[in-house]
Symmetry: C2
Subunit: 145 residues, 2 copies
């Protein structure tokens, strides 16, 4: 069971770079180099982030992408859902049919509880909070004691 796909991981890292450069347009090339993300893959990913309205773009020379939300308002949960779909038990519950297999339905109830916990936790982790952690690690800011 893999929690984060590379795409989600890349998205988080791209947004961290953009959050660190709020108010400025940053080119895909720059992000690609800084975060070591394959350029064309990143391009596609950024277009998805635009569709998710987390960033905006500017075409042409000196163009690029810019974060368009408060980093504290962008949660890892949103990103996981945007790129990997909602946390789900198995397909059966998606179809909302009366399960042919009751076992899954029994399990489902249990797992729904777990899902709620996981979602609540991922909701707490934001680009803003990650960036602050990063800055502490990199020594740009002294951690509050």
């Amino acid at each position: 069971m893999k929690v984060l796909t590379k795409k989600t991981d890349y998205a988080i890292r791209a947004l961290l770079t953009l959050a660190a450069s709020r108010g400025r347009y940053v080119s895909a090339k720059t992000i690609s180099e800084e975060q070591d993300i394959p350029y064309q893959f990143l391009r596609g990913l950024l277009q998805e982030l635009i569709r998710l309205e987390l960033i905006v773009s500017k075409e042409g020379a000196q163009g690029g992408v810019m974060i368009s939300r408060d980093p504290d308002e962008i949660s890892v949960k949103q990103l996981i859902e945007g790129f990997q779909g909602k946390v789900q038990v198995s397909e059966c519950m998606f179809r909302k049919q009366i399960c042919a297999n009751r076992a899954n339905c029994v399990l489902r109830h249990e797992i729904m509880r777990i899902e709620q916990v996981v979602n609540a936790e991922f909701d707490k982790i934001t680009i803003g909070s990650l960036l602050r952690n990063l800055e502490v690690i990199q020594g740009h800011v002294q951690p509050a004691v």
Copy 2:
């Protein structure tokens, strides 16, 4: 993000059938029909359960498979790990390298906490507990009030 693959889901259901028939050999054909699991797929899956030492088999006519452990000792966590591998954040942390991408490492710390919660919860859910729930639902047993 899908929590259970079909294989794990099938394994749980097969074990529920076997737990309800403790002490008896049940054929793959019977399980397949009862739980609506593709026969050949189930065959392969049962062999994995044998390797995991959760069931034993008997060849020949009147043969089949039989559960070989106390259903309360078989957790969904074990099955997820057996069929899908351990819950992990992303590949990077597996390799135990010093992450090129620090963001993931920051995230990692947070997600490790979430993983512990999820694992603890899946550990509590056993074939035995699921079976008891099923029996209550199906009215074989009165729920304790």
